[in-house]
Amino acid sequence: MKLFNIIILFIVFIYLNPVNATEDKLQNKITKNLRCLVCQGQSVYDSDSEFATSLKLTIQNKISQGQSEEQIYNYLMDKFGEWIVYEPRFNKNTYLLWFLPLLIFLLGGAIISKKLINKK
């Protein structure tokens, strides 16, 4: 019985895994990472505003032209500024944002390991 439960759990886990989801298309991936500028707080993927529908079309066109994800992001950031992407780019304004969590994690690890060593 226990094995059966584990198998079911495993199947559910695989099913929920976004990598295997059918909607894993490049267009969806890109539009989910874009802010809708009309209804802010929604992604372009979720939004049905005029702006978002046009943007989806533009992205679709760009993908069929063979442009890469990075090229499309660059194109849009050029037009609307960096704010349009949810994931901040790595530059001199955002390096702290990217590295601070890692730094805090390492610092915490160092403190813990030091305490453990002292206990011994």
Binding site: L37, E50, F51, T58
Partner: protein, 171 residues
Amino acid sequence: MKKRITSLLTISILIFVFIIFYKSLNTINFYKPKSEIKDIPQFSALSFYSNEKIDSKKIFNKDKYYLLNIWASWCVPCRDEHLILTDLNKYDKLEIIGLNYKDKLENAKRFLDELGDPYKKILLDKDGTKAIEWGAFGVPESFLIYKKKVVKKFIGPLNANSLLEIEQIIK
């Protein structure tokens, strides 16, 4: 003594948090994209009247100021703005180019019949992709252009202030 410090600290933290929340409750947090586009985008679009394809290179090439105005008949602020466009139409140095955004042709024609047509040329943007080329995200938006560069971008309807501003620039 320790108890008093703790309660004082708690209260001050609470007040601090309250002030921050209260203040941000009243700030409008709406982002408007800063226009990074200096060079005008290249595109081709169908003409409103003749239904032929016009290349953007053939439009903005005179030694004049151009005002590209993105509009639609269904857009209510465009109605108010139309008076200002009509006002601006009197300047010889300025040509107003319309970009008709996601509109029905008959509605757009009715709109112009009713309010007048200040546009030198009108281009069609049936699916909104041309507006994206311009970095626009809604209607109305206007771009003042000189020598193929965007001098000034207006998000939202033009008003008396923007009219003054445009007049000052083109003088």
